[in-house]
């Protein structure tokens, strides 16, 4: 066999195995099922006069081109954000499980291994996109207003989605292989990279400018989508999704994108970051070297974050020592004691949280009410998301789940325990703000409480469902981003109340959502435990 053939064989083996593992994860199957249902929930029935795509205020007729653009236009959010958090972790899983040590002793080169992982990540995201495409096509058969044209659907999805799946897979790889990006900080950073690139691509996406940068940065396809809509329809405004005001005038027959040579070249240019990101990943990849891996068994390196946390650890210990523990050996184990132990673990694991809590306290005491609501609160909620992300899944990830589940009272109450632990942790951070805002009326402070409880319950649900913290980080930050940008226009989206738009009923709605998330987590965990125990 030629050297190239052997090399391709190794790339194929890595990709095939990784894909196999990804598709056997329950989270992938759940996502595919949700996507199949999601299209039905997202696309309004045209008989109601509503439309998912409105161009210049007119509803677009439900043709294949219109539905493909409308549903495919959601791919940047679906794949660019949720896909990153749900799909990344192939290299980290090999590192965490120890399988990386087996692979590192084989002839597979770092470039081959990472290329295989990139292809698997892209394949996984492509399957998600295809599932969404298929459910959208099925939807057209049910509520469409023109015959289904599968080729049109696939062409629009391909032109929007191909650069997206490869770039997101390449970003995932980079964030897994660069040690400084591979933790929770990297998860948060990617969210901001995504929002900045999305905004840049949309802002710079004028095809007549002749500049290369908009094409190179437009992996999401947003810039391409905007410029095509302007080019094809001549309209200056369009909207995708529910809302956007009532449709006026006769339905518009959207002809679809102009997929000519320049348009395809433009999308092809959006693939340019892929080899660059892959090359950076190869440079950063340590081939599971136990003496260099930050999380390896033989790790001997200390990151800046560990140094910082090392400085804060004595302070954390002193503060935690002030909390009465009730260490009476004669007392029986109780839910409250288990809860206190888990909250303590959160703060001991991340002493940075103590610094955040103290800053929140100082800010709430010294800041003006408007500043506390409009600036401090959004900052705290953003900090809360990574802080709560692993509370429900850390036992599983650290291999101590069996120890935890053999503790008295914990197995039956695992989910309530974790929801309460995450809630209490969140309240330590947000309670000063809640109390400060309560001075101006309890009604305006309630959303702080409901948002904290909702995030705690959602973190538990997604942690239990995926056994990892990433998806919650993505979903939580996306919610935060949408609420921040909405600036209170939709009161229900002002979930923490920082825009001052949410009232007690909105808070009650989020509390109900928290209850539902907690109940779903409990049901899911219970089902898994029944399967495990047999």
């Amino acid at each position: 066999m030629s050297a190239l053939g052997a090399s391709l064989g190794r790339v194929g083996a890595v990709a095939a195995t990784d894909l196999r593992v990804r598709f056997r994860r329950p989270s992938t199957l759940v996502l595919l099922a949700l996507l199949a249902l999601g299209a039905y929930a997202m696309v309004p029935d045209p008989r109601t006069g509503e439309g998912i795509l409105k161009i210049g205020g007119r509803r677009a007729l439900y043709t294949s081109a219109a539905l493909a653009v409308a549903t495919g236009g959601l791919l940047p959010l679906l794949l660019g954000l949720v896909g990153f958090y749900l799909g990344s972790g192939g290299v980290a899983a090999d590192r965490r499980s120890g399988a990386g040590l087996l692979l590192a002793a084989t002839p597979v080169r770092g470039t081959e291994y990472l290329t295989g992982k990139l292809l698997a990540g892209a394949g996984h995201l492509a399957a998600i996109a295809l599932a969404f495409c298929a459910s959208s096509m099925a939807l057209q058969v049910v509520v469409g207003e023109a015959p289904l044209e599968p080729g049109v659907f696939l062409a629009h999805y391909a032109v929007l989605g191909v650069p997206l799946v490869f770039c997101v897979a390449a970003f995932s790889l980079l964030f897994e292989t660069v040690p400084a990006l591979s933790g929770r900080g990297g998860d948060v950073l990617y969210f901001f990279v995504w929002t900045v690139l999305l905004s840049l691509a949309a802002a710079l996406g004028d095809p007549s400018s002749g500049r290369l940068a908009p094409f190179l940065l437009d992996y999401s396809g947003f810039g391409f989508l905007f410029s095509q809509m302007r080019q094809v329809t001549g309209a200056t405004s369009f909207s995708i999704g529910w809302g956007g005001g009532g449709a006026a005038g006769p339905p518009y027959v959207f002809p679809g994108f102009v997929l000519d040579g320049p348009a395809l070249l433009r999308r092809a240019l959006s693939l340019a970051p892929v080899p660059v990101l892959l090359a950076l990943s190869v440079l950063a990849f340590r081939r599971f070297d136990p003496s260099r891996e930050a999380s390896g068994t033989g790790a001997r390196t200390i990151s800046w974050r560990q140094r910082l946390e090392g400085l804060l650890r004595p302070l954390t210990s002193r503060l935690l020592a002030l909390v009465p523990r009730g260490d009476d050996p004669g007392r029986r184990p109780s839910f409250a004691r288990a809860l206190a132990a888990d909250v303590e673990r959160t703060f001991r694991q991340a002493p940075l949280l103590v610094a955040v809590a103290m800053l929140a306290l100082l800010g709430a005491l010294l800041g003006r009410a408007e500043w506390v609501r409009g600036t401090l609160l959004p900052g705290l909620v953003a900090a809360l998301v990574p802080a709560l992300a692993d509370v429900a899944c850390r036992d599983h990830r650290s291999g101590t789940a069996s120890l935890v589940l053999s503790s008295p009272r914990v197995p039956a109450l695992f989910v309530p325990w974790k929801v309460a632990s995450a809630s209490l942790t969140g309240l330590v951070l947000t309670a000063p703000v809640f109390l400060r805002l309560s001075a101006g009326g309890i009604g305006s402070a309630l959303p702080v409480l409901s948002a904290t409880l909702f995030l705690a319950a959602l973190a538990t649900l997604l942690g239990v469902a995926t056994s990892g913290p990433k998806l919650f980080v993505g979903v939580g930050l996306a919610l935060w981003y949408v609420a921040l940008n909405d600036r209170g226009r939709v009161a229900a989206l002002d979930f923490a109340g920082w825009a001052g738009a949410a009232g007690p009923w909105n808070a009650l709605g989020w509390l109900v959502a928290a209850g539902c998330a907690g109940a779903a987590a409990w049901a899911l965990h219970g089902f898994r435990e029944r399967v495990r125990v047999g």
């Binding site: 120890g98 084989t106 136990p290 003496s291 068994t297």
Partner: protein, 291 residues
Amino acid sequence: MLEVNGVTKRYRTGTFGVREMSLSASAGVLGLLGPNGAGKTTLMQMLATLSRPTSGTIRFRGRDVVAEPERVRERLGYLPQDFGVPDGLTAFELVDYVARLKGVKSRSRVLSLLETVGLGAVASRPVATFSGGMRQRVGIAQALVGDPELLIVDEPTAGLDPEERVRFRNLLSELSAGSLVVLSTHVVSDVESVATQIAVVKEGRLLSSGSPDALVRAATGLVWSAVLSPAEMERLRQRLVVSSSVLKADGFHLRIVAGEPPVPGAAPAEPDLEDAYLAAVRGLLPATAAA
């Protein structure tokens, strides 16, 4: 076949994993013996091209393991001390995965390896459902893919029951014909019957090496038998290096490793490999025992 010259592994924090270690081995089974934390795993990771030495050279069949790791990996089989399996993979899929990375495409060869380790009947079951011993056997099967010339197995018998241990030792012995098996353990009986050469390491340093017989011979005059009352035993417990202790009607019957008679009335005894190991760890054996 294998030449380790002045190898040192020093971490960024300044601690040493291995210090100035030199040894050579030809075809057969090289047993690395040492207490926990002795540097066995660090040395094996360097031999397996997983990490690089800070200084020194490692050569296998004349090839520099550090400069040409890919060439060595083509001939390498490795079973780490702690290894995992990606979620959901079956035993066959895992071994087949490693086989394809090594350029072995024969499914029948993969199946035959699983048969060899007694897992043929459960090849299509997820490894996550296996017992500790079964997982270890999957690890052994993947290490044997491609008929490696250098087989590195780190604490391979952990989790195996006594029958599996014996079967595994016999397997290693068969494999060592024409190739080199490096086996690390802190259980002397694991290497006693199969090793052609033994290296005793502690705190990252090579204390002693040689054939099992040579090590045992070198321990001649360092092993004593004595009978102590419980009171004497209590008094001397901390001071003596005891390789075995049996309580009988007349007191504790002890085998003691020491450079001179440890207690009045102690009689010289025939050393065995366990005594030789204890003597080496206590620094009582010469650095290189005669072959």
